[in-house]
């Protein structure tokens, strides 16, 4: 298909769809097209961007119904003369394509995403290095590719239904550290994941892995995290002389008396 122009149908604040026509040039990305709009047609168009090379994670948006990074999406790859662009889902819209990504950052923080060592002094104030073999690095490296763009979160059907769900990105990051041979925080993180809003909430739609621009494969990390959780349950059971299974987990939120909102299967605004 030969393109000489392309129409962007952009969902803007207040629920309006506004169309902009942009002249196509070879190699044009969706981000290039948006920049063209802001610089030449409508300076009020809100969208985030920065690195232009798919590593800073700023420009996530819903392009033709699918969460993608605008900077590494070639206009020609969409094979359309008219492209639908909407903000990422499961996040509140602030202006046009700019969404509130803070809840996503908070979830990441909640799983203790840092190297935990029993000897803090050794970790923070020594001049030694841990010896790690390449095959050990391989166990977590892929999960460290996460650029925190939020595409997996926006694509996840469970996130859309359960705002208390830890989410694919945060579970992946918890697992990234659990799989790191240098880390000693395994036990504590499992408590965070073994809840009704944790790893068991995922129902394996696999949308996260499908949309991840960095091939992190969060769906795999969730499965691996489940294995770790089960291992720990078995260990606990043995420790207690095989008395009984660990009781169903209770989330922090419900302990404090906060009830998750009821499920909403409609398209109501969040």
């Amino acid at each position: 298909m030969s393109l000489d122009k392309v129409t962007l149908r952009i969902s803007r604040s207040g629920g309006k769809r506004v169309s902009y026509e942009v002249k196509y040039r070879k190699g044009m990305t969706v981000l290039d097209a948006l920049t063209e709009v802001r610089e030449k047609q409508d300076s009020s168009l809100g969208y985030r961007h920065s690195c232009r090379m798919g590593i800073c994670g700023s420009c996530g948006m819903t392009i033709e119904g699918r969460p993608m990074l605008a900077c590494q999406t070639q206009v020609s790859s969409l094979n359309k003369e008219s492209i639908s662009i909407e903000p990422l889902r499961s996040m509140a819209v602030i202006r046009d394509l700019v969404v509130d990504i803070n809840p996503f950052f908070d979830l990441h923080r909640s799983v203790r995403p840092y190297l935990i060592r029993n000897n803090v002094n050794e970790r923070d104030h020594s001049d030694r290095e841990y010896r790690v073999l390449t095959e050990e690095v391989q166990k977590f490296l892929q999960f460290d590719y996460c650029i925190m763009c939020g595409l997996c979160y926006a694509a996840c059907p469970t996130v859309a239904l359960d705002p208390f769900y830890t989410g694919p990105q945060a579970i992946t990051q918890a697992y990234r550290y659990m799989a790191d041979p240098r880390d000693e925080g395994w036990e504590g993180r499992i408590d965070l994941l073994d809840t009704s809003h944790g790893v068991w909430r995922c129902h394996m739609a696999g949308a996260c892995s499908f949309v991840c621009p960095k091939d992190v494969d969060p769906a795999k990390a969730v499965q691996l995290a489940r294995i770790e959780v089960m291992k720990r349950r078995v260990l606990r059971k043995r420790g207690k002389g095989g008395s009984r299974l660990v009781p169903p987990p209770v989330s922090e939120a419900s302990k404090e008396g906060v009830k998750p909102p009821p499920f909403d299967f409609g398209g109501a605004e969040k």
Binding site: G27, S44, S50, R52, I55, Y114, Y130
Partner: protein, 582 residues
């Protein structure tokens, strides 16, 4: 009424230097109740440091034959002898500790077979000391620091806060004024100590490797506050920017054995640097490349009209590319549809690193026009000019500098907070209302818009690409200076056309372009005055280095008529300048 927010320390910029400093301060302040703020005009983790690819330099295993002396010598020779040698020594001695510190905070360094940390060859280094984690070094370091920050509680992140002014009273730092993009509100961040860690000014050029955000804001803040900025004419053009956008193909690609090839199929570096070949320092390689292109041995890209050369990785084989250079493969596949294992990549020198910046001493303390410490103010990373890199930075020394100086500055501030009185002095409120009036009065309410900010920006970047690129001369630089002045005049007619307050990126663009124009003038004027060729500053009309006349740092101070220049001596403690051969 402008809201005032109080913290003990305010860090502007959330890249490697800013976050490293934040971690250092937090881990030293413990439960003392001191609070820290990290401001970013993006969000944390979006800073341009994530795009650093190839390596972080450090002497990790002296038993293998490397030494601090050798790292220092390579850095100084690479700098074309403009680096301050005492600072270089301090820098190289702290690099190994930082690599190991990052290791203990989780950075997935690539490993040797015995589990020790792996290192690769890099341009201008005479030992394999570029420590790497595949080809995403800056990204992984950022991940580790960002994650490490999550462990602390006594800090606040102010994402998407654009700082517009630096407040200094009676020679003492008082705070920063910024706009919270989310609400459009102007906020005064009052603090006892501040760090400017906002990176470089690569966006002054159109063909650039750097993020859209690297507009030199922090350097501009200092310049506007009447502080000297140093060596701005020294810009590094990285040899391998991908056609047509300029995004970076790491030097690691050549470190792993890649060739640079001209249209005659020759590895032309043979002519210019027969022993180091493709791994000569970047200034040498970029000059050689432009010489090849100017003498007609380049290729021309039909779509963009850009001249280019080839980076050939085919002989490395698919497996090596996949394991050592996966990001290069991804960029090449996604942006130009080329598999580097099958076809050479089209590249040319791209604006990459600002060697100059805010003038600081060996502890990262910001100095005023007479060389006195502006009490309470530090700068670290690319926005600062220590100067370690002199006229040309070696590859893998910038991420190293960010980590080392983040730590040095963090330590220095922790000590400063303990030794200085607690209460911040009252601030002269007129400064803040003046800033508010400038932004929301002037820029918004201007009657008619006679100029378009984006067209001014585009014209500026064309001028820089044309006349202030790898090779420069009197005619081009005079013309560039004249055009930049004209653009400054044109810019006076620019109005913010987006009337909204929330996420008004148009306002941010206007504020950034205002700073870019001033910095571009400093770069072009400084380059015009410096009648010699040294490192990143190559003059065709003065092709040699002139140590008798120009072995000195350039200092620019702002006046109503643009920059006024003075010069200061280079600190030479170990090695006298000699001819550079590679």
């Amino acid at each position: 009424m402008v809201e005032t927010i109080d913290h003990d320390v305010v860090i502007v910029g959330s890249g490697l230097a800013g976050m490293r400093a934040a971690v250092e301060i937090l881990s030293r302040s413990g439960d003392s109740g001191k609070t820290l703020a990290v401001l970013s005009k993006l969000a944390l983790m979006r800073s341009h440091s994530v795009a650093a690819e190839g390596g972080t330099a450090a002497v990790l295993y002296p038993e293998d034959g490397d030494s601090l002396e050798l790292h220092a010598w390579d850095t100084i020779k690479g700098s074309d002898f403009l680096a301050d040698q005492d600072s270089v020594w301090k820098f190289v001695s702290l690099c190994p500790g930082e690599i190991r510190q990052m290791e203990r905070w989780g950075t997935p360094w690539s490993r040797r077979e015995d589990g020790r940390i792996a290192q690769r060859p890099f341009g201008g280094h005479s030992f394999n000391r570029a420590t790497y984690a595949q080809d995403k070094v800056g990204f992984f370091e950022m991940r580790s620091l960002y994650d490490k920050l999550q462990e602390f509680s006594n800090w606040t992140r102010y994402d998407e806060t654009f700082v517009t002014a630096l407040v200094i009273q009676d020679g003492v730092f008082r705070g920063f004024i910024g706009i919270k993009l989310r609400t459009g509100a102007i906020v005064y961040f009052r603090a006892r100590a501040g760090i400017i860690a906002t990176g470089g000014a690569g966006q002054l050029w159109k063909f650039t490797a750097t993020s859209v955000s690297t507009t030199g804001d922090g350097i501009g803040l200092a310049y506007r506050a009447g502080l000297p900025i140093e060596d701005m004419e020294f810009m590094q053009f990285h040899p391998t920017g991908l056609i047509p956008t300029g995004i970076l193909i790491t030097e690691g690609a050549r470190g792993e054995g890649g060739y640079l090839v001209n249209s005659k199929g020759e590895r032309f570096m043979q002519k210019y640097a027969s022993s180091k070949m493709e791994l000569a320092p970047r200034d040498v390689v970029s000059r050689s490349m432009m010489k090849e292109i100017n003498e007609g041995r380049g290729f021309t890209d039909e779509d963009s009209g850009l001249s280019y050369l080839q980076l050939d990785l085919r002989h490395l084989g698919k497996e090596k590319i996949d394991t050592k250079l996966p990001f290069i493969k991804e960029l090449s596949m996604k942006f130009i549809g080329v598999d580097p294992a099958e076809e050479p990549i089209r590249i040319k020198p791209t604006a990459h690193y600002t060697m100059g910046g805010i003038r600081v001493d060996g502890n990262g303390r910001v100095l005023d026009g007479s060389g006195r410490f502006v009490k309470g103010l530090w700068s670290a990373g690319e926005s600062a000019c220590v100067s370690i890199h002199g006229a040309n930075r070696l590859g893998a020394n910038s991420t190293a500098e960010c980590l080392v100086y983040g730590k040095i500055v963090g330590e220095d501030i922790a000590a400063y907070l303990d030794s200085e009185p607690n209460a911040p002095a009252p601030t002269d409120g007129s400064l803040i209302s003046a800033e508010e009036a400038r932004i929301f009065g002037d820029l918004f309410r201007r009657e008619e818009s006679s100029a378009d900010v984006y067209s001014v920006k585009a014209k500026l970047r064309d001028v820089m690409d044309k006349s202030v690129y790898v090779f420069r001369d009197e005619t081009g630089l005079s013309e560039a200076t004249r055009q930049i002045r004209a653009l400054k005049d044109e810019f006076k007619g620019v109005k913010v056309t987006d009337g909204g307050r929330v996420f008004n990126y148009n306002l941010q663009d206007v504020l950034e372009v205002g700073i870019m124009l001033e910095l571009a003038e400093v770069v072009a004027r400084g380059a015009l005055d410096r009648r010699e060729s040294r490192g990143g500053h190559a003059r065709t009309d003065y092709p040699n280095r002139d140590d008798a006349g120009w072995l000195k740092h350039t200092l620019a101070l702002r006046t109503a008529d643009g920059p006024s220049f003075s010069y200061s001596p280079v600190t030479i403690t170990m090695w006298k300048p000699v001819e550079r051969k590679y």
